[in-house]
């Protein structure tokens, strides 16, 4: 077939495929997580960030940013949250944590692993969300009343997500290593 002169041909590279695969995994986690009932709005485990952490460690910041932002966009479309307040909170949180991850990934690897990245990113996430919430959604200092709760959730879920990411990374890098019984 003769190619049309107006046709735009997009040839996805191997990188594009990889980003799409990781973003798809992250989106699945986002949607699955939305089904978990949680006592307080705004407190979420953020399981999709496990994917971001793994991509960051293996493929670098650029690809992690693609995965994280695609996840926010498509996740909100799937859940019907696109352009709703929750979407902007999510976007602000993701941008803030990507900025912090960009700095945190240069910490010495010997001492700071995925758990550090995860906890720092979780704190940046609540920070970004609170800034947007304070400036736009709830223009009152009352939003800061919940900071200790959000901080505790960020610590806890940051630790858990970081540990899972670290374990996945170890399993990926050493596929031949014998698995324990767990």
């Amino acid at each position: 077939m003769t190619p049309s002169t107006t046709e735009i041909r997009l040839v996805p590279t191997a990188d594009d495929h990889r980003v799409a695969r990781h973003a798809a995994a992250a989106i699945v986690l986002t949607v699955a997580e939305a089904a978990i009932p949680l006592p307080l709005p705004g407190v979420k485990p953020g399981l999709a960030n496990i994917v971001t952490l793994v991509v960051l460690a293996r493929w670098g910041w650029r690809e992690a940013a693609w995965v994280a932002l695609l996840r926010v966009l498509v996740g909100s479309l799937v859940l019907g949250q696109f352009l709703a307040p929750g979407f902007f909170l999510s976007l602000a949180g993701s941008l803030a944590s990507l900025a912090v991850l960009g700095a945190a990934m240069h910490l010495p690897r010997r001492w700071f692993g995925p758990v550090s990245h995860s906890v720092l990113a979780a704190f940046a996430h609540i920070g970004g969300q609170l800034v947007v919430a304070r400036l736009w959604l709830v223009p009152h200092d009352g939003v800061f009343y919940l900071v200790p709760v959000f901080a505790l959730a960020a610590t806890l879920f940051g630790l858990v997500n970081g540990l899972v990411a670290a374990r996945l990374l170890d399993a990926e890098l050493a596929p031949a290593a014998p698995r324990d019984g767990a």
């Binding site: 692993g113 758990v115 550090s116 610590t155 767990a182």
Partner: protein, 135 residues
């Protein structure tokens, strides 16, 4: 009965992934949680009781030492009891005793009003989260 050695092995398998700096980051994160809770959630501790009679400030009492303030009104004497950190209307000549039944007031912004005798007791602090009337 939980299988303790298995739990310990399970925890150890996860702990392998913690590095020195991770512990530091976690400690800092927990310190931030505790610190922010202490700073943000201690508001509302009262330090002064403002007693009014007939719309005029009758007395401003420091909430550090126990004492009893007797306030005269059109119906008789309202007795206000102050203890460290809290205050109450101990007795009032009013017919319905609403202010007495409110009991101890212990947060900044809390108000007890004995309307018939025109006496009110309000606690004020460095920062009041809300006042109990508007809330």
């Amino acid at each position: 009965m939980p299988d303790l050695p298995a739990v310990r092995r399970w925890l150890a398998a996860w702990a392998v992934h913690l590095r020195m700096g991770d512990g530091l980051v976690l400690a800092a994160a927990l310190a931030f949680c505790v610190g922010s809770a202490l700073v943000l959630w201690q508001g509302g501790r009262p330090d002064k009781a403002i007693i009014k009679a007939g719309g005029q400030v009758f007395a401003e009492v420091d909430l550090s030492a126990p004492r009893i303030v007797e306030v005269p009104g059109p119906l008789g004497t309202t007795r206000i009891e102050v203890q460290p950190g809290r205050a109450r209307v101990a007795s009032d000549p009013g017919p319905r005793q609403y202010c007495v039944r409110q009991g101890w007031l212990a947060s900044a912004g809390a108000v007890a009003i004995c309307a018939p005798n025109q006496v009110s007791l309000a606690l004020s602090g460095r920062r009041a989260d809300y006042d109990s009337l508007n809330y």
